[in-house]
Amino acid sequence: MTKFVPDRARRGLLPAVLALSLLFADRAVAAEGAHDHMMMETAQAGVPVAANAVKIDNFSFAPAAIIVAVGTTVTWTNEDDIPHTVTQEDKKFKSPPLDTDDHWSFTFTEPGEYHYFCSLHSKMVGMVVVKP
């Protein structure tokens, strides 16, 4: 119902993030681990961060918004003690139920903004920006 659109991306900050993420694209995985806390805060603010791994915990996706290059495989890992799913709004992709410690991957082959949510807990939303 309510569409998740990152305000700041709409206001034109996205190009800057894109440029930044290109710089750090090859360090995304390391950064995701090393600066997890910082990146979570950034994602909650609605700005996509470069990462190809999303952690599910406390009924939220972290980072909630990520940016990847075409062809990137993104992996979601459920570290929560309740099952969740990763479901694109138009059902272009939908993970099976992910129980604790389960993970699921999806390879993005088309550029675009992919808004997704947990089909069990629809308040849980996330976004993947796939750049050309």
Partner: protein
Amino acid sequence: MTRRFDDDETVPRGTSRREALTCMAWAGTGLLWSLTGGVPLAGMIGRAEAATAATGFTFAQFSDSHLGFNKDPNMDPVATLREAIADLAKLSSKPAFIIHTGDISHLSKPVEFDTAAELMKETGLPVFYVPGEHDVLTDEGVSYRERFAPNSKGDGWFSFDHDGVHFVGLVNVQNLKAGGLGNLGNEQLVWLADDLRPLKDSTPIVVFAHIPLWTVYAEWGWGTDDGANALALLARFGSVTVLNGHIHQIMQKVEGKVAFHTARSTAFPQPTPGSAPSAGPMKVPAGDLKNWLGTTDVTFVRGIERLAIVDHTLA
């Protein structure tokens, strides 16, 4: 313990108090409802009062069995469901039937469904199910409906009459929208309007669904986006009782002629709204789960605005 919160998003009329009394209970068992002289009463199974209250007919509410869950604070929800069933069998006045308000299973697995069906069969009572979101995780709920609601409409909704009371089981866990709450959908609302149309205003109505039809706590998705549409259809009736699960704790309010109540889980408690970072299973000290069974009696009197809630600490 009790706490208050304000919530008027789903008020069907504007005349009711802007206040709701809520009552928290941390762990639970089946909930027994009795309709005595037109007055529904609820009490926790396991309390002697519940067994003697009924001179009309009674029914029990089970919810959130979550068979397949195996983490803190409950490694064995099968055992706690068994306990709830055993308590039910001790009642002196046998319930006419059971309603189960969803999340029978944890992961919609066949073995979870089969175990639940076998256990509930041991009660020897008819059981009317509505699905929780955990029951429709695969195949859009087809396997759920085959087992638990073979004669239902649409995603699993249905109605039936018992002793002058009209019961409606609704489904609000399908086709959820990103960022939204529970969802009934237009098809089900049209069906509900048709279902209610022939009934007299004086017919007592009991509506049950998994997710609360009223907004308990939107931040955690504890509500139904189009629940107000269903409540509008129910507004002409003199007595409406709305029974839900999903939030694993007792919470209730009365708005005009509509009484709302959520049941406890037989598997694990969840935190009170906003009291934790998220709505996951609430950890309680080992061995304490059972001590908290039967800690709340709910007296639910039609026509009286405020629910009477009595918390009993058995420890």
